[in-house]
Amino acid sequence: MNVEFTLNGRKIAAEIDADENLYAVLRRLGMYSVKCGCETTNCGLCTVHMNGKAVLSCAVPAARCAGSVITTLEGLQDEAKKLGECLAGEGAEQCGFCAPGMMMNVFALAKENPCATDEEIDAYLAGNLCRCSGYVSQRRAIRKYLAMKIEAAEGEVRA
């Protein structure tokens, strides 16, 4: 079957199997930031945005994406650079395998609750597992990134 959706701002038409998930389609389309870890909806590695919400692409039926707006980390490179610098600065990344999924969820958090407390950051990112850096340095990096976003927004208001 054929499905049409918007991927990172571009209209896409893709041939899919009826039981295929979005993750497989995105990888086929060259979106290699989207990774599959657990395939049981627990690890958060395959997180993408679907119509503005963070979802696990390994569980989204590809056929359901018809007419949807899908965003992967490839479509948010400017933000990825800023958050990436915060993560590197705080030593919050080692193997980097979990980073794309975690970053996509941080962008969703920044949109939903830019003034998130440490507790709220932890709760929001509970579905993103990291096996090497630990979560404390990640939290520090996210705090820094959110503060940077708030500062930039305030700067815009002042200007």
Partner: protein, 259 residues
């Protein structure tokens, strides 16, 4: 992983119901659990285009569409105001935000999972299930029934009560080892035990809020618990009275705050 030959995005409930009458069909809601069931079906019927994801506040109840994601309920101001923040507290430990953006209340209710935090809270709140053909059925009754081919359309949650949920988990974001939900209304306390690991059940109704600990121990002694990888039946039986007492206490605190 689930295998489907065809994937149909239903355009009406009538169409979805008609397609679902064949055993070779299956309804797809959140697709969180279904995809891992190893099903091999001719047709998957998707309900996402039917506008069943709303949460509407009526005078005496909230009506929640079957396709409403758990996250929508967790963050719904009206629902949390009416029930003392019970939805926020009960749903927040379920896996992660992305998971709760996708998992639907209708799928939890229909599937009657033996590990459900959702069913336990809804049962405590004496919710009703609105089915496409049969109409309204009390969730307490629906929980006992076998899976059929009717479609869950809405969940109706009556107002005028508050609730609290307590659960034990081996680790954060895991499926609960045991969950206890308590609600308080004019009819007294209602207590539900879930993740026994079996379908959630109402274990006490009309209970006085100041019941002594031995009452909870007596209730727990009459409930059937099971053993799985997370805990033994003996362990569950031991912690059930503690969770019941804590849930009742938390519920009373919520009620006191509301006053």
């Amino acid at each position: 992983m689930a295998k489907y030959r065809n994937y149909v995005i239903a355009q009406s409930l009538e169409e979805a119901y008609a397609l679902n009458q064949k055993k070779s069909s299956v309804i797809v809601a959140g697709n969180m659990w279904l995809r891992m069931c190893g099903l091999n079906k001719q047709k998957a019927i998707d309900l996402s285009a039917l506008g069943l994801d709303g949460i509407v506040e009526m005078e005496d109840a909230f009506v929640v569409g079957a396709m409403a994601p758990l996250r929508a309920m967790e963050t719904h101001e009206g629902l949390n105001r009416a029930f003392g923040g019970a939805f926020k507290k009960a749903f927040a430990p379920i896996v992660g935000t992305q998971f709760r953006n996708m998992a639907t209340v209708g799928a939890s209710v229909y599937s009657r999972f033996g590990f459900s935090d959702v069913s336990a809270l809804l049962l405590a709140l004496n919710a009703e299930v609105i089915l496409y053909k049969r109409g309204a059925v009390k969730l307490a009754e629906y929980q006992k029934e076998a899976w059929d081919r009717d479609i869950v359309v809405q969940i109706r949650i009556p107002k005028g009560q508050c609730a609290a949920v307590q659960s034990v988990r081996v680790s954060a974001t895991d499926i609960p080892t045991l969950v206890c939900a308590a609600s308080k209304s004019d009819a007294g306390m209602r207590i539900v035990l879930g993740a026994r690991p079996a379908r959630a059940v109402v274990v006490a109704e009309g209970l006085a809020p100041d019941a002594p600990q031995r009452v909870y121990e007596e209730i727990a002694s009459q409930v059937t618990f099971g053993t799985n990888l997370r805990a033994s039946d003996t362990y569950r039986k031991k912690i059930a009275p503690v969770l019941m007492a804590r849930a009742v206490k938390a519920c009373q605190e919520v009620a006191a705050d509301e006053r």
